[in-house]
């Protein structure tokens, strides 16, 4: 078959993916493809109300319906002490409502039946008597003193969840007091949803005879899911086997544990047969976790020449009904304090307040490291406003304020230590490749003719790869990651990792890392993830952390093997260990050309001919606790044209220059950039989940939650610079999220740039055509 990957030293090469042969044949194995004997189907009844007391639930008609095996309500779960479960953010969340519902589409009852259709039929027969309560759909309203208290389970008598801050308040205030220039802007990052193409779901299979629960689940973090499930259910962890089979995209949506998984598990435990729950797209968008929904205010203090001094940010974070954010324990607002971005501020002070509302719970880090997208968008937006006020070119302003290459490792005013970067080089490459000067000339000519063209720049810095275990944990579990590598006697390798890819290509890229370290080809290495019974414990794939953490673990694990291999090689070569030389593909004896053994020879010897006293076999496990996070960055430039008649924006060009450190597989990196920029484009121009004042979710499906098609999506250009991470074993930084983090600001900056002659400084996303038309109309511009 095509595309064998037999070349040695595969690191950095664009080799074809090992996961593709099954996927292009339709032979992937996703959760909904799991078909087990006697399997039943679960359908969840959801609340039409955003806030209501439940007076009564009548399940009798549903219980009598054809094929129905079980009906569950919150009261049933309460009897088992399972009505609530912990969230990753340390809050608790209802599995099924007891007493009252807190958001529209919340889980209220569940039906298990022989077929999916029967379960749906019976679900319609469940009668719930609701008493509607006043709805709080707006986070500012939620903070009003007279607002209804939504969370009766909490001791606190307000809808405020947390206050979190970073930086130095006093120093920041002082700099603002004396600053000659201050710009201020309110910026909203809309409520969006990762909406992976495969919705969430599970098959829960309790086998009483074996005393074992097998949970096939759409999970980006199977080990964490197993631990949480053990904590919730009381089942011993070794009797729970979580399998995350092929995952059809995650983008953060598949990090949390959802009520559906728990309900399916309860049903399987009660019925003793497998129970499948696959959410519909409506359930996915309306109930599983959203992202963002940040209402931010940013101020920059600067000198008249454009040198920035201080940054002040206040944010209201709408978390919905439950704080179910997938954030590390110490960081209720995630890594939002990266908001000083690529710029050398003297001081910064950042505050975030979390708020409960009658909306779906969240929020997850959608293709983002815990609120880094919100931060990057904010700083890139307000830097542009500063440039506009000072009548400076936005590229020039950035070049003036960048953290310089020689300042790394750079200590940011909010407490991060940036590992490496060369921002000037990256931006200059982008400016040159896009033909910035010519574009500005063209723009000037067009403006003279009354045409609207804009150029937008975003030079972002991310913080990814959580994390150093002393700083980062999720529900108390330290955020390291792991790899286990085992040689078979014939020189082939199986490697198991604690992360779980959802399209990122780990089966190929981690094989490349391991093959590179062990002198093999990628085809010699089988990567296995997603099975908690076989893989070493890991925290999962999200937050661009797989390459920084598990990638490091894979490399160091391979090196650990190589150390043992060196000893075996010395034995085979009949030289002292110090006289063995590793050249990347084989061990040879120093000064004795021609005398060499390959890793394959060594592996065979490990099982057939080890030196006396040595433990046979060749395998290792490595738990990698990274010393720091990694800081991918980039310079993105968008060029847009605006249709004066309709307000529609056309993205004429978009260039992404990324610096993600050393590259494992440039083809995969480019693919990640294409995909991430497309999601950034969607967020900038199409996506929001609005709620009306009654708490109705107005975009609960793909008809109204807009995901761009091939016909909407622009052509993307990519390039890169390479500034290796100094602390990462292979110098890599991670790239999956950069394009989603960095691109929204480039698009919005471009549109605002086009409209800047009208005095426009900001437009909130999503930039629908009507918003642009409104502005044009205000200024009397029409076709």
């Amino acid at each position: 078959m095509a595309l064998p990957q037999t070349e040695l030293r595969p690191m950095g090469k664009p080799i074809g993916r090992k996961e593709d042969p099954r996927l292009i044949r339709g032979k992937g194995h996703y959760v909904d493809d799991v078909m087990l004997p006697n399997m039943l189907y679960l359908c969840i009844v959801r609340s039409p109300y955003a806030h209501a007391r439940i007076r009564r639930i009548d399940t009798s008609a549903a219980l009598a319906a054809p094929g129905v095996k079980l009906v569950l309500t919150g009261e049933d779960l309460a009897e088992m002490n399972l009505a609530w479960m912990p969230t990753l953010a340390g809050d608790q969340q209802m599995v099924m409502a007891t007493g009252k519902v807190l958001f529209q589409y919340q889980e209220v009852a569940a039906v298990v039946a022989e077929t999916r259709a029967q379960a749906e039929d019976a679900a319609q027969l469940i009668e719930v008597d609701y008493e509607p309560l006043p709805v709080v759909a707006d986070p500012f309203q939620a903070l009003e003193p007279d607002a209804p208290i939504l969370r009766e389970d909490k001791e606190k008598k307000s809808n405020h969840i947390f206050h979190w801050e970073a930086g130095d308040r006093e120093e920041t205030e002082a700099l603002f007091r004396d600053a000659p220039v201050v710009v201020k802007q309110n910026v909203r990052f809309p409520r969006v949803h990762p909406a992976p193409l495969e919705p969430c779901g599970c098959v829960s299979d309790w086998d009483a005879a074996r005393n074992k629960l097998t949970l096939y689940v759409t999970s980006q973090a199977p080990h964490v899911h197993r631990t949480v499930l053990a904590m919730v259910s009381g089942l011993p962890e070794h009797q729970i086997h979580v399998i995350s089979p092929d995952v059809g995209g995650g983008f953060g949506n598949k990090v949390p544990v959802y009520p559906g998984y728990v309900i399916a598990t309860v049903a399987s435990l009660k019925l003793g047969v497998p129970v499948k729950w696959i959410e519909t797209r409506t359930e996915n968008i309306a109930s599983t976790h959203f992202a963002r929904d940040y209402h931010m205010t940013a101020e920059i203090a600067a000198r008249e020449d454009g040198k920035v001094l201080a940054l002040r940010v206040k944010t209201i974070a709408d978390h919905g009904a439950f704080d179910a954010a997938a954030d590390p324990s110490k960081f209720p607002a995630g890594l939002f304090s990266i908001v000083t971005g690529s710029y050398d501020f003297k001081a910064a002070f950042v505050e975030v307040d979390g708020v409960y509302t009658n909306k779906a719970p969240g929020g997850v880090a959608y293709r983002c490291s815990f609120r880094v997208t919100e931060a990057s968008y904010l700083i890139e937006r307000v830097m542009n406003i500063l440039a506009q006020r000072l009548k400076m070119d936005p590229a020039e302003l950035r070049l003036k304020n960048f953290i310089r290459k020689e300042q790394f490792p750079y200590h940011s005013p909010t407490g991060w230590v940036y590992d490496s970067g060369d921002y000037e080089k990256t931006l200059k490459l982008a400016l040159e490749r896009i033909g910035y000067e010519e574009l500005r000339k063209e723009q000037a000519e067009k403006r003279a003719r009354g045409e609207l063209m804009g150029i937008g720049i975003s030079t972002f810095t991310e913080v990814v790869g959580a994390g150093p275990a002393h700083q980062f944990d999720i529900v108390g579990i330290k955020m390291f990651d792991s790899a286990q590598i085992r040689f078979h006697p014939t020189g082939k390798v199986i490697a198991r990792l604690g992360v779980r890819h959802q399209g990122q290509g780990h089966e190929t890229t981690f094989a490349q890392i391991i093959a590179e370290e062990l002198g093999l080809s990628a085809d010699d290495v089988l990567i296995e993830e997603g099975d908690t019974d076989t893989a070493p414990y890991g925290l999962g794939t999200y937050a661009s952390r797989s390459t920084p953490t598990a990638g490091g673990a894979a490399a160091l694990c391979a090196r650990r093997i190589r150390e043992k291999a060196r000893k075996i090689a010395a034995h085979l070569l009949e030289v002292g260990e110090d006289d063995v030389v590793w050249d990347g593909v084989a061990f040879s004896a120093k000064g004795l050309p021609g005398r060499a053994v390959s890793m394959k020879d060594v592996a065979f010897a490990a099982y057939t001919n080890v030196p006396e006293g040595m433990e046979p076999g060749l395998e290792a496990t490595y738990y990698y606790n990274p010393p720091n996070l990694t800081f991918p960055n980039g310079a993105y430039i968008a060029v847009v044209d605006i249709d004066k008649g309709t307000g529609a924006v056309k993205v004429r060009r978009f260039l992404a220059v990324d610096d993600c450190g050393n590259v494992i597989n440039p083809m995969v990196v480019e693919g990640q950039v294409h995909g991430g920029v497309t999601e950034g484009f969607a967020i900038a121009f199409m996506q929001d989940i609005p709620y009306d004042a009654d708490g109705n979710c107005l975009a609960p499906n793909l008809m109204d939650y807009l995901v761009p098609t091939s016909a909407d999506t622009p052509h993307w250009e990519t390039d890169r610079t390479v500034t290796p991470s100094p602390h990462h074993p292979i110098g890599a930084k991670g790239v999956g999220e950069s394009p989603n983090v960095g691109s929204p600001a480039a698009f919005v900056n471009a549109v605002v740039d086009a409209l800047s002659p009208l005095g426009v400084e900001h437009i909130d996303m999503p930039i629908f055509p009507w918003k642009v038309w409104n502005i044009l109309r205000e200024h009397g511009i029409t076709e």
């Binding site: 959801r46 039409p48 109300y49 955003a50 529209q104 319609q124 609701y130 509607p132 409506t282 309306a286 009306d692 004042a693 009654d694 708490g695 109705n696 979710c697 107005l698 975009a699 609960p700 499906n701 008809m703 109204d704």
Partner: protein, 162 residues
């Protein structure tokens, strides 16, 4: 929340109109596309209603509760229920006033529609909710117009006797 309102004048005395609008047996029949009406008490009735907008077809089970705000003059009708996985909550306020040659009935209805119908039908639900509400009051008006004069007399008489 959506608010709809209207008013109309009926050439009938206020007492008679009042008697009609506070009678669940009568008021209940003004709900359009009624399949079944169950009067549960003097102030409470339950109705099964056919909902149809082209292909969107289903039934709503609605419980209505009548409250007198100001006897002979103002009453409100709260309608709550749902169907097709959605919820309906309406509060209709009616106020009667004497005008030349009859009675002015002013109505105002606050409607909250929750659930998939509200979410999915963003493009049309407002139009439909308004139409249904208007139809309730159009039916009421027609029913009042159609009240036979003898009954007027009878009612009047009864009133007189009282």
């Amino acid at each position: 929340m959506r608010t709809y309102e209207g008013e109309f004048t009926i050439e009938q005395p206020r007492e008679k109109i009042w008697a009609f609008v506070t009678d669940p047996h009568k008021m209940g029949t003004c709900i359009p596309d009624l399949i079944e009406l169950n009067v549960e008490s003097e102030t409470r009735f339950r109705s099964l209603v056919k909902v149809g907008v082209g292909p969107v077809r289903g039934k709503f089970d609605l419980t209505s509760e009548l409250t007198v705000t100001e006897p002979g003059k103002a009453a409100s009708l709260s309608i709550r229920g749902g169907g097709m996985g959605s919820g309906v909550d309406m509060k209709a306020q009616m106020e009667l006033g004497d005008v030349d040659g009859g009675t002015l009935l002013k109505w105002r209805c606050d409607a909250v529609i929750s659930g998939p119908i509200a979410s999915l039908g963003g493009r049309l639900i407002d139009n439909e909710a308004r139409k249904i509400t208007e139809k309730v009051f159009a039916n009421l008006k027609n029913a009042l117009l159609a009240l036979p004069d003898e009954e007027v007399a009878a009612t009047d008489k009864t009133a007189d006797q009282g």
